[in-house]
Structures are given as structure tokens and as C-alpha cells.
Symmetry: C2
Subunit: 239 residues, 2 copies
């Protein structure tokens, strides 16, 4: 938690985790300045006026810094194990993904859709924002039917000249070769499709490619979904 996020016009912190962080990690006391942000708004500093384990009251709130820009990027993610989803949502939020579409896939177990963790997505987003010192949540949606989504809605994600990529360990084209070619046009892909444990099946890769994606491989080494997401998004930090 590198920033404490608060709703608009709020100067009293009552969130248990935030108070715990102020006491136990920051070891802050009355008079200390904290980094705070307004959900959807600016980032800045505030002074602790009063504090106990039930609430921390802030004063002199100055929110003078814009949140970091989002990446112009949509991630289409096959629903992974719910525990993995938590870290993925946090990481994609921290890294600044603009929109996240969570989709069913052949290798997504049906039980994952019933997990109570799916109801807690907003918490994971909140964690990711407070980690990254950002205030603007990505747009997140769920799509439980792969084929109709890819056929009917996926193409509309791309406008003239936009590129989309599906990560697939067995693709012939390399991520590096693909990126190098795009960079000569000073572009980055607009959509990134990432499978869950076990990856996409051939049918899914083919359907995505039929609707505008290029399949790329990260090389001989097969990586965990979480690692793939960060490795791929790292390319936006050095574009």
C-alpha cells in the first residue's frame, strides 16, 4: 500500500486494512504526512490530525497530482484459478491496464465461475491501485461464453489499424519478432489475449486469429499465467 485511497471528500479513514497499514507498516503518528488519493481523482498528501484503531482523521489534504496515465490496452484473460485471479487483477491494475475482459475457456474449470472470490474483484482492484499509487480502476467485465463473445463482440474492440495478440507457447511467430515489426510503425498491440493454466486450446487460438489476433510465442520456456502477464506488460514500460 503505497497510497491510501479514499472516496471523494473523505477525511476520516475507517477501513481496517488501511488503519492497520498506517499503524503497523508506516508506524505513523499524529502530525505525519501520508500519501493519499481520491478514488477516480488526484493524488497528494494529508496530515494525521487524530488517530486511534477505529479511525484516522486527516487534515490539510492537498491533492495536486494527476494519477499516472493508463495503458491503451485491453487484456482478454481466460478465467484462471480464483487464487491466481486475485494476483492477476492486482498486477494488471498496478501496471495500468485500461480494460480487462475475463472470459470462459476450454481449460477454465466450471467451478471457478462459482468462486466467492469473483465477488471480491473490486477489492483486488483497490489493492492494485493502492500498490501502484493510482486512483482510476480499470473497467472489468465477465464473458461466460467464449464463442459468441469472440464472434460478435471481439471485433468491435479493434478499430482500423489496431493490432491484437494471443499468447500461445506453440505459435510460430515470436513475441519479439512481432513487437519489432510493430515498432517500426510506432505501434503497440491494442488487445492482449492470455490463457489460463494449460493455455488456450487450438480451436480458441484459431477463432481469435480469425477475428483479428496474431498468435505469438514467448520462446521455448513455458511460463505460468501470472508470469506471462507481467512479462508481456513489461514491453509497454520500455516501448
Amino acid at each position: 500500500m503505497n497510497c491510501i485511497l479514499l472516496p471523494k471528500n473523505t477525511t476520516t479513514i475507517r477501513d481496517e486494512l488501511q488503519i492497520k497499514h498506517i499503524y503497523e507498516v508506516l508506524k505513523a503518528k499524529v502530525g505525519d504526512r501520508l500519501t493519499v488519493g481520491e478514488i477516480g481523482g488526484n493524488i497528494g498528501k494529508a496530515t494525521i490530525a487524530k488517530m486511534d484503531r477505529g479511525e484516522v482523521v486527516l487534515t490539510d489534504v492537498v491533492l495536486d497530482k494527476k494519477p499516472p496515465a493508463k495503458l491503451d490496452l485491453i487484456v482478454l484473460l481466460a478465467l484462471p484459478r480464483p487464487k491466481v485471479l486475485r494476483r492477476l487483477i492486482m498486477d494488471m491494475t498496478s501496471l495500468g491496464v485500461n480494460r480487462i475482459i475475463i472470459v470462459n475457456s476450454y481449460r477454465t474449470q466450471k467451478s471457478y465461475w462459482q468462486s466467492p472470490l469473483l465477488e471480491r474483484i473490486d477489492e483486488f482492484v483497490f489493492e492494485g491501485l493502492q500498490q501502484a499509487v493510482d486512483t482510476v480502476p480499470p473497467v472489468i467485465e465477465f464473458q461466460k461464453r467464449f464463442k459468441p463473445f469472440v464472434e460478435d463482440e471481439f471485433p468491435a474492440l479493434l478499430t482500423e489499424g489496431d493490432d491484437a495478440v494471443v499468447a500461445h507457447p506453440y505459435a510460430e511467430r515470436s513475441w519479439k519478432g512481432y513487437l519489432d515489426a510493430l515498432k517500426t510503425q510506432q505501434k503497440m498491440p491494442k488487445v492482449l489475449c492470455i490463457g489460463a493454466e494449460g493455455g488456450w486450446i487450438a480451436y480458441e487460438v484459431d477463432l481469435l486469429c480469425k477475428h483479428g489476433c496474431t498468435a505469438v510465442s514467448l520462446g521455448d520456456r513455458i511460463l505460468r499465467t501470472e508470469t506471462v502477464v507481467s512479462v508481456l506488460l513489461g514491453a509497454w514500460l520500455v516501448q
Copy 2:
């Protein structure tokens, strides 16, 4: 587990996790071909000759493929929370880091050094190799004293012309600018120093810089240690 690793000249699998994987994930049966590798040796295929929950016997073992090349890279990692260490060791192994040095730092809690997970590093390496279809473990060492290590041993990691980087969210130089400059010389850094939760303190960054490191920042967004490792290592995949 995308590959089942076995000691040299072994054709009987008795490892519980490997057997569980063969039954429950691969749902393999007698006659099926599995991807196997010899620890420190080649990768290939083998046929299941006999199987039960206690052991799986292989036949027709053909190990005809070399493991993927390692990165010419040493990662110096401040010891993080042991649970995080497990995933970091797995990821760095999967991504092909050649050597990992785990060092104490100001923000490493003393109790971390007593964690029983530290005795299980070899397991995490094994997991990472089986994930990535690699057979050669990275060299891993522990350094419990930061200052003597950096002053006396760190400089020897670098030979003439080698570069080293310390990741630090508040560094002035950007990772992108640094990499671009190195790429004009067709080089990548030889050593990457990554802090634990809360990062390095200024004294540590300064000492590393005094001994050959350049401090670089990944931008305004502050990322979790695990994310930083994958994001940075991603640069080697597109170098």
C-alpha cells in the same frame, strides 16, 4: 508441470506430485508418451509401460533435445517474505536466470531467515524447471550480510564492460532510457538487483551504485517485487 524431471538413468517415477500430475492433470494411461527431462541433461519423450499410484514405469526414453539456453544474468534479490520467495524462485528459474544471490537488506525481517521454506529452495527450483521445460537449475546462494557482500564480493560479479542495475522506484534514470542506451552497444545488464517489499533503502542503493550499479526506475507506478522481477526479465525475451 510441462515436463517431468528425473535423475539420470531413472525410468521409474516415484515422486508423489509427478504421479498425481500424470493421473489427474495429464489423465495419461499405459502407452501414452510423456515429456520428460533428465536433471542437468536433455529433454525428450518416454512411454508409460506400467503405472499405479505408487510408481509409473517408463520405457522407450528418447532424450534428444537440449534444454533452453540460460540468460547470461545474475539476480541479486533482497530476501522477501518466504511465501513470495517461493514464487520468485520458481519464476526466475522458469525465465532462465543463471545465478540467484539472495541477500539480507534493511527491510528484510530477521524472522525470514529462520523460515523453513528456505530449506525447500530446491523444490521451488524443481517446480520452475518442470514448468518451463528446462533441466538445468540456476546456482543459488545466500548472503546474510549486505555490506561485506557488496563491498568485497559484488564487484567480482562484473568483468570489464559488464553493466549492473538496481531497481529503485525513486531513481531518476528510467529503465527504458537505460536499456535503449545499452542496446546501442548490443548489451544487456549482467546483474539485476531487486529489493524486497518496501524496496532498498537509500544507503543500500548508494552502496550498490558505488560498486558498479546504475539505479533505474520503472516509472510512476510502484509494483510488487514479484511483478518487478517478471517485468524486468521480460526485457531479455525481446532484447
